[in-house]
Structure formats: C-alpha cells, structure tokens
C-alpha cells in the first residue's frame, strides 16, 4: 500500500456533499433578503419533513419559497406569511409554532419540566441534609 493511495483514501474522508438549491437572490434589498432567508429557514418542507424549505430542493419547497417571495413583495408581514402557510398545512409547517390552544403544550412543557426538576432537586437535597452525618466513618471503613 503506497503512501499515495493512503493520501487519496484519507482525502476522500474529507469530502462534503453539495446541493444545488436555487442560490439566486430573492430580493435586492439586503434587509428583505435577510427576512426572506429567515422565513424559509423557519418553514418545514412538507414532503421532506426533516428539512426546512431553505435546505430542500423538493419542488414543493421551491413552490413554497416562491409563494413566500410573492407574499413578501406584496408587502405582507411575517405573521401574514405564517397565516398563509398554516391555513394550508397547519401549525406543523412552522418550525417556530405560534402560541395557540393547540401548540400551548409545546411552549409550556419545557418550563413545566424545569420547574418539576427544580422541585424534585430541592426535595432531594432537603431530605439528604436532614440525614445524620455520622455514617461518614462507615464509608471510610468501606474504602479501606
């Protein structure tokens, strides 16, 4: 096995895949372009469900990008764009779901879990603090 072969093999380990997703700018105005890129990054592709429409080259993703571009150039706000998507595909398409009865659980659950964890921690610590300390000698004895 020559060194050259090894070099080729190792260099192959460092390849990356490249995807051709339309790279043309949607807006000339940099502020609008930034808004557009944020919106498409926050929209889930409905056929390829673990990608945003920014990362997907499925044609539904392309269609949704085009629709978002159209709505934005009509002067629609972010909320109106979200409304457009949700009427058609439901809350599921938004990676940052809106606050509503249905999505309330998503928003509250993490805080509820943290609160529960803090409560449990306090209880455990309190309980341990109340324990007598006199079993230290015993522990030492076990180590020896």
């Amino acid at each position: 096995m020559s060194k050259r072969v090894l070099v080729v093999i190792t260099s192959l380990l460092f390849t990356f895949s490249a995807f051709a997703i339309d790279t043309g700018k949607a807006f000339d105005d940099p502020e609008m372009q930034a808004r557009y890129e944020r919106l498409i990054a926050e929209t889930r592709c409905v056929t390829c469900q673990n990608q945003s429409i920014k990362d997907s080259n499925a044609f539904i993703a392309a269609d949704l990008r085009r629709e978002i571009q159209r709505l934005m150039s009509e002067g629609k706000s972010d909320a109106e764009v979200a409304e457009f998507l949700v009427t058609r595909y439901g809350d599921f398409v938004l990676y940052r779901p809106r606050m509503s009865g249905k999505t309330m659980f998503l928003w509250i659950a993490p805080f509820a879990f943290i609160l529960f964890a803090v409560f449990a921690l306090v209880r455990v610590v309190r309980h341990r603090m109340a324990l007598p300390i006199d079993d230290e000698a015993e522990v030492d004895g076990e180590i020896r």
Partner: protein, 174 residues
C-alpha cells in the same frame, strides 16, 4: 411507600402518552380543510386551455378531486382503479393535474384512459399549495355543497375505497 408514589404517578401519566406516540404516524399531515369549503380554484382544463374548471363545478353533487401527475408513480398505480370507479359510475372524479407538462399528461390519458370529468391544469403548483397538497396522489372527497369531507394521501385501490370512502359516501346518501 411514599418514596415510590411520585415516580409511579409520573409513569402512569407518561405511558398512555408514549403509547399514543407510538401509534400515530408522524409523517401524516392532516388536511386543514376537513369540514371547510374546498379551496377556490379556477384552472384551464388539460384538454382545452380555452375551457375552465373551477370550484363551482364541484357544487351540486358529491365528487372526488384527485391530484395527479405523470411523474408520480402512485398515480400510475391507482389509475386502473380510477378507471374502474368511472366505469361503474360510482362518483364523478375531478382532477388537478399538478405541476406537470401538458403533452405528457395528454399522452398519459390517451394511453391509459381518462377517468376524469375534467382535469384542471395546475402548471406552476399554485392550486396544489392552496389545497395543502404535500405529495401526489392525493384524493379529496367533496360534498354537494362544496365542502371537503375527507382527504386520502396515497394511491387509491379497492381496499382503501371500501374502508375509507364508501362508508363516508353511504353516510351522505342516508
């Protein structure tokens, strides 16, 4: 006893939630239009660009709206069954030919038969998006008032028909 009570309660609450999670299909996207008026559309027909087919055509009779395209393998799979529905005059089938090319689609219908009352030609996919389509084929059941009752994603066949569509249509005819 008290020591195990809290974890026990947690487990009792969590288990049904997890079982529900296992049973539901996370890829399934329920249609947003169930029980609502079918999204408006007005498209040139596939066969004659001068003629139109629109939401108005759907009123007056229970009908199907089938989303299809020549690039869609599932559409080929369900085509014979759609032909059969048409032969048996079960229900009028309207179609949205979604993101397709006209000559190819016309060829398809010429070769395999045309089960549709009319196919709207949705070249750029606007109507598909308005209907919340996320893949082809998809089939919507629309009642005589033009309301969407049910949407089935995926190819139709006899089993799907008997299980999902027939009971709903029978319910309407009562």
């Amino acid at each position: 006893m008290n020591k195990y009570l809290l974890p026990l309660i947690a487990v009792v609450i969590l288990i049904p939630i997890l079982i529900l999670g296992l049973r539901s299909d996370p890829r399934e996207l329920p249609s947003q239009y169930i029980g609502k008026p079918a999204p408006e559309f007005d498209l040139p027909t596939l066969k004659d660009p001068e003629k139109r087919v629109s939401t108005a055509n759907l009123r007056g009779e229970v009908s199907l709206v089938n989303i299809w395209a020549t690039w869609c393998a599932g559409c080929r799979a369900e085509h014979d069954f759609l032909m059969q529905l048409n032969r048996e005059q079960v229900i009028p089938i309207y179609a949205i030919n979604w993101r397709d090319n006209r000559p190819g689609a016309l060829d398809w219908l010429a070769q395999l038969g045309d089960p549709y009352v009319a196919s709207g030609f949705d070249e750029d996919g606007r109507v598909g998006i308005d209907w919340g389509v996320y893949g082809a084929p998809e089939t919507f059941l629309v009642n005589a008032e033009g309301y969407v009752l049910f949407r089935y994603p995926g190819p139709l066949n006899r089993a799907v028909w008997d299980h999902e569509f027939a009971p709903r249509i029978a319910e309407l005819k009562k």
